[in-house]
Subunit: 86 residues, 2 copies
C-alpha cells in the first residue's frame, strides 16, 4: 500500500522559497505568475497494512510526529491501494 | 487559475532525503514503512490566463526551464480552474 503525503505552508505563513520561485519565473518572462508557494511531497511504501482507514490513521500519526510542523504546515494524505505502474 | 506541480525523482535515482525520512519513521516505531521518497510541490497562481490547455503548456515550459531537472526528475501538472476555498 502506498501513501502520498502533501505538506504545504498554511495560508498567511510567509514562504520565501515560493517567492524566490515566483521572482525567478517572472525574470524568465512568465509574467502571468502572480505568486508561488512551495511544499513537500512524501511518498511512503507501506508493508503489512491492508486496511485503508488504519493506514491513513498511522500516516496521520507520522505527520504529527515527524513529517509536518503542525504550527505552520498543513498536510493532506492520499492512500493508494495499489502502486501505479510507471 | 491555479497550477499544482508535483516534482519527484525518477525511479532508480538515489533519494538520500527519502531514505532519511524512512529511517527516522522506523526509529519512531513505524515499522511498516518499507521506503519513502521525497519530492517538491509547487503551487502557482496564474493571472490573465483563461485557457486550461495553454496554461498547462506554459507551466510545462516553466518546469523544463526552471522548476524541474529533467535529467533526474519527473513532473506532473494539475490545472485548477478555480482556487479551492481553504
Amino acid at each position: 500500500m502506498k501513501a502520498i503525503v502533501r505538506i504545504d505552508l498554511k495560508q498567511g505563513v510567509l514562504d520565501p522559497q515560493g517567492q524566490a520561485v515566483a521572482n525567478a519565473l517572472r525574470g524568465l518572462g512568465f509574467d502571468e505568475v502572480a505568486s508561488a508557494r512551495q511544499g513537500k511531497l512524501i511518498e511512503l511504501e507501506l508493508t503489512g497494512e491492508t486496511n485503508v482507514d488504519s493506514a491513513r490513521a498511522r500516516v496521520e500519526e507520522m505527520c504529527r510526529k515527524l513529517l509536518a510542523n503542525p504550527v505552520i504546515e498543513r498536510y493532506h494524505i492520499d492512500i493508494v491501494a495499489v502502486a501505479p505502474a510507471e
